[in-house]
Amino acid sequence: MTTSWTAIASVTVGVLGTSSIDFTSIPGTYTDLCLKTSLRTNGVGAVTYAFMGMTANGTTSGYSDIHLIGNGSGAGSFSNTGAASYRQSIITNNSIGTANTFSNVDVYIPNYAGSANKSISVDAVNENNGTGAYAILSGNLLSNTSAITSLSIFQLDAQTILQYSTATLFGIKNT
């Protein structure tokens, strides 16, 4: 079996920043999707990280998630049910953190065009030149069987995604 990756679309945020990055009209011709992000946002509070949310098809209910998290000095887990988005999996660097650094996140979306509920897995880290940077592994579920044709990511504190943040959507095909 051969696996091919195709960059479907990519966005780099401009100088004014943005509230969300939306991928629309996602073709249903791939086996899986992978969204790779490098993000920096305004934040709330004296922490160097923040969390993003992601919705599929504009759906704002029926999400649940579970996470493992570590920050170099401690580790833990947490979960959400009844959420309005794939929540607290995609991490972002806050603007009060180390200048010019961005988070790194892989979101894997298997069988996105199928008729099963839509599970995703997320491998995410934020970057910080100091003690305390977070790594998160997450499993998320959207209890909705519609094929995913659009994705939207946004900061959960309703803050701005900053310049030079990037998001690239890949289509993965097994042949």
């Binding site: 509230s19 709330v44 504190d157 701005t160």
Partner: protein, 86 residues
């Protein structure tokens, strides 16, 4: 709405909340203002998330107090408790 006001006041990079939208079929990238529905949802998400964070912070503070009280009751330090559990 005080929490929301606080959140939105810090959103100073752009006067109007916008979305960058990329059409994967055509490759066209557009920047557009959020719709009224999107703004409402964004505000609701922020309020819900702030409430959840406040709940988690309160639980963490409560757990820390309970932990200290238990250590005091047992007459041992946190390091000694770790040894017991190792």
């Amino acid at each position: 709405m005080a929490i929301l006001d606080k959140l939105l006041r810090r959103n100073t990079m752009s006067e109007v909340a916008t979305a960058i939208e990329v059409n994967c079929a055509t490759g066209e990238v557009t920047e557009r203002p959020l719709t009224a529905a999107e703004i409402t949802q964004r505000e609701a998400d922020a309020v819900a998330y702030a409430a959840k964070k406040a709940e988690e912070d309160a639980k963490a503070a409560s757990d820390a107090v309970a932990k200290d009280a238990l250590l005091t009751k047992l007459g041992i330090t946190a390091d000694e408790a770790k040894l017991l559990l190792a």
